[in-house]
Amino acid sequence: MEEKYFGHSVLRKEGREKVTGRARYVDDLAFPEMLHGVTVRSSVAHGRIRDIPFGEGIPWGEFTVVTAADIPGKNEIALIEHDQPCLAAEFINHPEEAVVLLAHADRYLLEEARRAVQIDVEPLPAIFSIEESIAKRVVLYGKDNVFKEYHLEKGDVDAAWARADVIVEGEYRTGAQEQLYIENQGMIATANPADGVTIWGSLQCPYYIHKALITLFGLPGEKIRVIQAETGGGFGGKEEYPSMIAGHAALLAWKSGKPVKIIYDRAEDMVATTKRHPSRTRHRTGVTRDGKLVAMDIDFVIDGGAYATLSSVVLSRGTIHAAGPYFCPNVRVHSRAVATNAPPHGAFRGFGAPQAIFAAERHIDQVALAVNLTPEEFRRRNFLHKGQTTITGQLINEDVNFDGLLDRAFRESDYHAKRERFARENPGEAVKRGIGFASFMHGAGFTGSGEVYLASVVELEATREGIVRVLAASTEIGQGTNTVFSQIAADALGISYDRIEIARPDTGAVPNSGPTVASRTSMVVGHLVETAALGMKRTLVDSGLLCDACTEDEFVRACKRYIDTRGPLRSRTQYEPPPGLFWDDKKYSGDAYGTYAWAVYVAEVAVDTVTFEALTDFVAVQEIGKVIHPVLAAGQIEGGVAQAIGMSLYENVVWREGRMANGQMTNYIMPTAADIPPIRVFFEEQPYPFGPHGAKGIGELPMDGPAPAIINAIENATGICVREIPATPEVLMEALTAKAGALV
């Protein structure tokens, strides 16, 4: 197959609309007679609803008011479990839990009305930390607050300690992080018993919402339609939460008989929607004197907030990534997702892996120190190679070359020379410089049997004019889905990129190609697009209307002939797992992912001992199978690194009684153009046989490495051992002061 488009930075399909301001996001849409909707929420973290008084001075007769009693189907947001209500009925389990919905045509009046509704809650004791949850100070879920638990065992850890010359322990913590897509969440709904429910919104997974609304309304699937509007960033924050806001808009539309638009403002979006799961990881590692890993015992806990939502899956990914890209014959990972009275935490790029990898890569630097090896040398002695098994017993059957990645990363960042120079120049300087790195991997696609379960479908259909439309539920949210699919289809069919159109994700018109998450869109769904396109070509060839090697004109003519003589020209493909992949859900062992992308990231920092601020330069080297679109691929890495820099140094969620207290952009600090250092990105290519043209998934990979690389660099610069993120200047100040024991 000719690669005319694959591997090249073609102009984006979606590009022109975005640079002219013509792209239509959900708040840009308006419908005749449309009402606005708002949500009245609890300010108390845990309790029983006593009363909901509606205040004076508001013309309540003009308003549509919805409570749990108005829900036609089941009061739940169907996801994995059934514990999360759409609207709180009797009990409140977290601050900002939704209780009452209001709609009115006047947006200003609506805001007055929202303030006039009180949620009177009789408080119950609440818990806000992993420790309180594990201690069962209050039991919120099941018998022990544990949403999900995994016990992963490889080899015989208990026996292996005896063979270790040195044992190193460490505890590491990561805080919550807000996705902070620049477009706040929003939905528009029309709903009535006759026509069913239609949703337009900012979302990543139209079929997740579709499924949730079936349960909420008790309607059959054909009566629910979900359409994606242009979406201004998601990062996982618009994976599961949209089902909630879509449900709310639809309930108001159902009761009022009018279209209803709900758009969150930034304050509401920050405090009420999902965040990255906070984590606590405890490592106990046994090594021989010459630096070989013999035993790893890892305890990994994530705070799931008040309801189960996606915590079990986040936990799963974190668990599998907990030991890093190293070979160790004896590993135990005990992991838990636990309940607290915070708004449920949810999907955010990386999905458990950044938390686990932060701990692993910080810890490995400590282990190296304990056996007097450099961070580099220790890793080289323990990297996974082809023929070895991961902690789930997955056999690595590709030529993983971490030595090569390390060499390249060090070369590009001038690591050794800088490390030596900084050590020499730091004494006496107010600004301490350092360089550190992290080596890591990220499994692409859904874990284990997830992709089989999803059974994704993609369809292609051609028009008489020879335009080929790709029908998939995969959403463009900034990563360039439409462009990548067009490149793949164009090359597979041997026609111009301009002949490919990507249908708007609309559950009424496209099949379910699965959610736009888990770094699967290019690799898994893109592969389906390729297969479907090849299938369409095969149909034409088999019908005698086309030769294998054909010109574009011939293709166009063949389409016309086929449609005129035989009917619609369509091609449909469903996911089939790559051969040889085996996963045991019960034992949690086997081939966790079809493939992994491998990476080494190097961070250079300058820690100002006057103000305790940090960061100067960043090099990101990764092996990703095949680069589909150089600009888009680099854009994914750069964007992910920037978000991870935020996670490492800036983005601190301040919690007060389970509520985010700094829910404004003024006080939740995301890096600006003045803060992000140059990020230099390099790709290696080792084609993955089951990705399109060999491509692996990369969307989440860049979120995993920066935090440990940066904190490792800070340790190199200053000698302080930070074990938590965000490592804000306040944290660095305390650590440097403690180390110095005196004025710095």
Binding site: T611, Y650, N662, I669, A673, P729, E730, E734
Partner: protein, 287 residues
């Protein structure tokens, strides 16, 4: 957006005298509205309790930067952009220009005004420490007349200042006395741009043969008001910036400031960094 917009009145008086008349006739009923970069944020957060405003944005009497041999007078409506672009201010009052450049973003700087910044009275404001170091004086006008007072002492407590409900801030005057002074300004924010300060330090000193003949030190974000560190200044008059003097000055500063824990930072961080900035300033004087 959390405000009931129809309840807010924002009138545009035709002249300064009309504005003062309204303020005098109904004291406390009307409040002045300049660039709006503080008030609109409060409005959108649903926290703007006052509902009636007079826009002073177009009053020419509040505009302009006048230079004489003795001083520079900035109209209250001078924007941060105008401050940064003014040649003489860049040359003689660089701390004010640096403060202006580090306030919010360029978009904020195009709208935000010096007068608005002063009467908003945030202890974290960026320009006021520079104004204190420059011994600024401010002009207040009302229907009753005009008065000048030193900016130092204008703020009497958190969001409390010596301005009557019928008064308007008209101008800020900076005596041109610091041409030979060594000047230092450093704002430590939550990030490098568009940040509210955690600690802000402005210092200027007249140094002759290594001895500090005169010094001004002012800090933001370490007390309920923007603060002149007079005790620390007193400890430095006639001294050389030796390590011993610097260490003692750090201690004196710790006695003078009252940093707190808040949503952005901690008291311990603010204290440590304030001391470090003082040391950085004094170390430069020693060179």
């Amino acid at each position: 957006m959390r405000a009931y917009i129809p309840a807010y009145d924002l009138r545009v008086p035709g002249s300064l005298s009309e504005t003062l008349a309204l303020l005098s006739r109904e004291p406390g009923v009307w409040q002045p509205f300049a660039g709006g970069t503080d008030l609109m944020v409060l409005l959108e957060a649903g926290k703007l309790s006052h509902k009636r405003y007079l826009s002073v944005a177009k009053l020419e009497d509040l505009r302009g930067i006048d230079v004489t041999t003795a001083d520079v007078t900035l109209g209250a409506l001078t924007t941060y952009s105008e401050i940064q672009n003014h040649r003489l201010l860049q040359k003689e009052f660089p701390l004010l220009c640096t403060a202006a450049r580090e306030t919010g973003s360029i978009a904020t700087q195009n709208r935000g005004t010096l007068g608005g910044n002063i009467v908003n009275a945030s202890p974290a404001a960026d320009s006021p420490p520079a104004l204190l170091v420059y011994d600024a004086e401010i002009e207040l006008i009302s229907a009753r007349g005009v008065r000048w007072l030193p900016y130092h002492g204008f703020h009497t407590g958190y969001k409390k200042m010596q301005i009557a409900p019928d008064e308007l801030l008209r101008a800020v005057r900076l005596p041109r006395r610091v041409k030979k002074w060594r000047q230092y300004y450093r704002k430590v924010g939550t990030r490098r741009a568009q940040a509210i300060s955690k600690v802000c330090f402005a210092g200027a000193a007249l140094v002759e043969k290594g001895t500090i003949r005169d010094v001004r030190i002012a800090l933001g974000s370490v007390a309920p008001i923007v603060l002149r560190a007079v005790k620390t200044e007193d400890a430095l008059f006639g001294k050389k910036a030796t390590p011993t003097i610097i260490a003692a000055a750090r201690e004196t500063l710790a006695q003078e400031i009252a940093p707190i824990d808040d949503i952005r930072s901690t008291a311990r961080y603010r204290l440590r960094v304030a001391q470090n900035l003082l040391e950085e300033f004094l170390s430069q004087l020693a060179k």
